[in-house]
């Protein structure tokens, strides 16, 4: 199953489970965020990645420098598990 199939299921489920008045606000907030132009102002292809040093799930510090010393990096930015 593709990721898109699963995401489409989430969209369908939220359309049926979330009360319309709440869903309307959620969609409007997402649209408002998009309209700020945040994606165009964010980091772009060709930019240098700002360095980071962050704590992992085990409490160990992981730095971008250490990761890049091993090769390319795929960074996925995740809002959280609620």
């Amino acid at each position: 199953m593709t990721l898109e199939t699963k995401l489409a299921e989430i969209r369908d489920a939220s359309a049926t489970r979330i009360p319309p008045e709440k869903r309307e606000v959620m969609l409007a907030e997402t649209a408002a965020l998009r309209d700020t132009g945040i994606i165009k102002k964010a980091i772009q292809v060709g930019d240098q990645l700002p360095p980071f040093s962050l704590e992992n799930q085990d409490g160990d510090m992981v730095s971008s420098v250490a990761l890049l010393n091993q090769g390319a990096v795929v960074l996925t930015v995740f809002r959280g598990h609620w």
């Binding site: 699963k6 980091i43 090769g71 390319a72 996925t76 995740f78 959280g80």
Partner: protein, 130 residues
């Protein structure tokens, strides 16, 4: 979260291509541990307290009042999950960075249900070698 588990499925391919997969999230490490107990991942979840690093990427945004209330009604407690009171989140994003630290691909979208396929990221990584 669906995206993380989809990326898990290609993690061995990412490694074969000589790259490292890592996730960044505003949630506290304890929350990540709780999540991983239910369904493990074999890559790191890094905690970005207050979305400070997301801010340097230009991806941090505020969750406004009305939406805070809606999240609250769903039982989502961001101050608890994130261990701080800023009511901020990052825009979901997937970034491919080459070994010299240059961004070579980015897919960011304010709608968390609009995400690229993992296969797209593998193609991005293969393009680095080419």
């Amino acid at each position: 979260m669906v995206e993380l588990y989809a990326l898990q499925e290609i993690n061995s391919d990412i490694e074969t291509l000589g790259a490292t997969l890592v996730a960044i999230t505003p949630q506290i490490p304890e929350k990540s541990v709780e999540m991983l107990k239910k369904q493990p991942l074999d890559f790191d979840l890094l905690s970005d307290a207050g979305n400070d690093y997301a801010q340097t990427l230009g991806l941090r945004h505020e969750v406004r009042g009305e939406l805070q209330n809606i999240y609250g009604s769903f039982g989502i407690d961001l101050p608890k999950s994130n261990g701080e009171q800023s009511w901020t989140l990052p825009v979901p994003a997937r970034v491919v960075i080459d070994s010299s630290g240059i961004v070579r691909a980015i897919d960011a979208d304010p709608d968390y249900t609009r995400r690229p396929e993992p296969a797209k990221t593998l193609a991005d990584l293969r393009a680095l070698a080419g």
